[in-house]
């Protein structure tokens, strides 16, 4: 809690959830950005550090009621809200010229009708969808620099897209037969009181969910189709892990050209991600563990070609709250503000 004012001011709308507290954890040590405002209707007046004692000694701020005028004084505003909140405030904020990083699902899909089908309600600000830049820096870094509104990718879509990306860019796999089997820690379910997410229910247990269709699927398919410049079809099955943080995606794709060796594909991945500060291509045959990225902003990836048959398996891990949410949001903010991309994101993963 040093007193020196920092150069940039950030606001956070909806600071009582897990992506909110993770934004705070990252930003309290950001060299040039300070959290100036954090809102919560239900907790207005509460000291943030009373709610999250992990921040005692790091942050001296209270939750306030969200107010567009006050938020407009910030250099950047994050939405760490459930879907259907950001799009209600967005028109006014955009009109006020504020730059926004939205961690929610509201502006990830370009097609308002598709959004409605998966979220079960009409999209309120469809006119802004075209302005939203999809915030996966590994694809859209240049557009993010000038964007006023960045829609941060979902956690599963981040792990899945970064895993398939080089294969699809170079048309090495059949885009219509992709399988994305993924598993997430329980923090992905949000900080909401729900019986199935109790420790006594979800601890010491494992199961798939949304196997017949999950909201992250259209986002994954939109992103991969952009990359492939072709339609894609993904069978996506998410699972719930008995732990708190981490996403592991196991991706399967039929190889189009069986003469390509695993070493060739490995080289392709290494080249594609050589300059990416937060994508780590591990040696072929490695098995990335979720703890290799716990609390850190990396996506670590490894390739396998089982028994040298014509199926490529990509293993991809992220921390769902960091590269899958708040870390990626900070990365996007850094790009938007012209800051070093690693600012505030230097921390190594917590292992063990």
């Amino acid at each position: 809690m040093s007193g020196a004012a920092k150069a940039f001011r950030a606001g956070i709308v909806g600071g009582t959830g897990y992506t909110g507290v993770e934004l705070l954890r990252l930003l309290v040590n950001h060299p040039v950005v300070e959290v100036a405002r954090i809102t919560s209707r239900s907790e207005a007046g509460t000291a943030v550090a009373d709610m999250f004692p992990s921040l005692r000694g790091h942050l001296d701020l209270e939750f306030t009621v969200p107010d567009v005028a006050q938020l407009s004084e910030c250099d950047v505003v994050f939405f760490a809200t459930p879907h259907n909140v950001a799009m209600r405030m967005m028109p006014e904020l955009m009109a006020a010229g504020v730059r926004v990083v939205d961690l929610s699902a509201d502006f990830r899909l370009r097609d308002a009708d598709l959004w409605s089908r998966w979220y079960g309600e009409p999209h309120i600000a469809p006119e802004l969808l075209a302005q939203a830049v999809y915030g996966l820096p590994e694809i859209n870094r240049e557009k993010i620099k000038d964007a006023q509104l960045v829609a941060c990718p979902g956690c599963y879509p981040t792990a899945v897209q970064l895993g398939f990306l080089p294969l699809l860019e170079d048309s090495l796999i059949d885009p219509m037969q992709l399988i994305a089997n993924a598993a997430s820690g329980a923090s992905g379910g949000g900080r909401q009181a729900k019986i199935p997410m109790l420790l006594a229910e979800a601890g010491d247990n494992f199961n798939a969910y949304g196997a017949s269709g999950h909201r992250h699927l259209p986002e994954i398919e939109q992103g991969l189709a952009d990359i492939a410049n072709d339609p894609v079809a993904v069978t996506f099955v998410p699972h719930l892990l008995p732990m708190i943080r981490g996403i592991h995606a196991t991706l399967y794709a039929p190889l189009r050209d069986s003469t390509l060796s695993l070493a060739d594909i490995q080289a392709l991945f290494e080249e594609r991600y050589a300059n990416e500060p937060f994508v780590d291509v591990m040696p072929a045959g490695s098995h990335p563990q979720t703890r290799y990225v716990k609390g850190a902003n990396y996506c670590r990836i490894a390739l396998h070609r089982p028994l040298d048959r014509d199926v490529i398996v990509v293993l991809s891990v992220i921390d769902n709250l960091v590269k899958g949410a708040s870390g990626q949001a900070v990365q996007n903010m850094n790009i938007m503000l012209g800051l070093p991309e690693r600012a505030g994101l230097e921390g190594a993963a917590l292992l063990p």
Copy 2:
């Protein structure tokens, strides 16, 4: 520890591992089978209940050095050993006329060369492979009745085969494009001191392993090929869960005939397993959880057809130590001895 002698006597070779102690847990309450002998070279002379205090009050027995003459007095002998132990004692035991249920990998593959390639050493008793009956009662019940040597399936192979079985029997899927993504609790790794299996390593973590090729793959492919009466190719990726018990398999297969509805396939599964005491076909669209079978001998299965596309997803859960090992071994023993198949296996799963 009631005094009344039971009708049948069982021996257990290698009783200090997890499948050994699980056999004991199940057998101490078996109505007509008692554990007469349990061996361990390293723990000979130790009271079993000193090593496993969970059995205090249930069992008054010491570990002894394995001895064929003594084991031959048993009605049935279980091998709860790592691979490469059972096959050393088997010729003598078979010659002595003992009936054996082998929980290890030694007699699961019919092809000794294939076994050698995956286990890295020669098979010592290849002449016995033809006598071994693969102990998946849902396929081989009649053969098991008369077998002298039953080779219990591996844990992953049990979950995977029961999930694909009705689809392959009726040729509904392309057998050359199967994907088996599976995850296991840490007890599957055995009771051996290994750093990667420490709580401080494997807890709060998730990763794939053996993604380039795992020893259970040839067993899975042998079993599925028998079922399909055709060659099969499976991409199989196992994962390690931060919990103790449970296997969850997520199976993906391209549907051959897209006019078949999910309801049709559901009906097929229900019919196929209608008389199976330990296979439970849950309603289509369900998500079986590993805790639904914790400590119990069931395999619970559910079907999905995501977005009505032409990929079938089968979810299959077992307890790796029960239906995936010791429970299935007891089930096989019951069949071999002409006992009710559910004897000693009546317990419901421990939930929560």
Copy 3:
């Protein structure tokens, strides 16, 4: 789900919580008692096995609205409800002559005023308190035989009382300086949607709660004072473990007579509990683990005298849902119905 009718019929009021489903798990395999009725206002009409799929294949029953007339047809009725439910229905049930085992807190304290102070509301049926027998069989077995209403002890009070009991009966320790430090798995918090009990909150974490005063304290002090025939003062601090089942109590007491050896005290414990089917005194110097009783009805106890100083440490473990709740309830029922005390409670603990 065998068809043969059993000799006794049990009803369960409030079957959707953890003690309810645990009663079901134990009773579906009880040799002579069947669950004839299970109630839930909110889930009336739902099949029990739809809510708890672990019971598929074991139970073919639906939840019904609680109804005194229907419950009165049962030989015994269990209350597996939060406090303040049983006492509302109790007068009518008692008048109907039904025998009741109440797992809730409503009839544990003899003093209605004390109850009111700790539970924050008036006691509705104070006239029945005198009829309630405190259901700790190790103390009150004879009274339980003839009781119409048995109040099952709380989970912490069971572990704490059984640990201190022989020391207090023989006046070996100073009853005014007792310390009971205890920890419980999360199932003790009940099956209710509360943010602090989410996996993402209570997993991978440990903390004390209620350290300034917890509702189980007056029950503990009432029970220990009965045993000691003297006032007692206990400092009791409960803690929440990042796991589902199990209570571990670490009890500290100043020894009055320093000439008594640990061996003397060990002999005393062994003698006191020699005929108790569910109390296991482990060798002195042992460290009982909660997994030694997971899913089983035992209390396992061990004694220490650190550095031979004049403080006795007693370690006491139970499964909070079995000996700490539903198992003890079945044990009480067996005593009330004149059945063998171990009926339905023969299962060994699930280890690993």
Copy 4:
């Protein structure tokens, strides 16, 4: 991995354990100290980031064989070894004028005979014991500034001493009747292959250990006696938690003067720790959680006085690998080198 050389060079002896990798995690982001050398006999030649992939992208260093000449070029050397290693190399290092922070137990006790009794072997460098400064900055900050050899406190002793400290300094409690009930995550057991520390053994489980006497007891009593200026007697029972990081101590002490209010004592604690950067006195009646300090260098403390009786309960949490080991070591190094005490230790706890 920025290229700019840092002002100070650190060496780490024994870098393959948990305190070693935690030192690395903290130091790779230290503003002015770089890790110049890290040793391991067994892993010499291995890249550190191959062994701990969480450090990929942060550290480009290989393990080397320990060599006094090379270590002597460092400004500070850490020992992150089991006991009985540091004392073998210490005479030579001390003679070479190197400043050392020893995380092991070798120099914590001033009395070589006491050390021998608890560790079962003779102390090899008893002549250096008098030079060792006990590295608890909250007590010995001034001495640490000038020390050549700092013996970092054990994890339990840190949590216990900081909890009792203000009470003993002011003689508010009876020093002969102290109880320290504590629990630790599994990383406290070290990165060694031991069956009882397997996930399948220690996960989903809780137990006491060393209840008859644990090696941290003499260290605790030595430290508390120094604080109290009087003999102390502590009954100390440690427990093993089914999680990786975190220590929780629940301390009990009889209050000498019953007219002192909890508010008085709270004020005393707040005053005593007002200027301590890493001790946080939470509001009276709080329940510190281990996750409030996960990955961070704090000790968070809260006070209770149950039912206003004359027993004070202090709750004290640390991360065993940070304030209980490597973080405290860095704090000591900062003090020794005249750096800001928080340098490299600014990170907030990882929550959730």
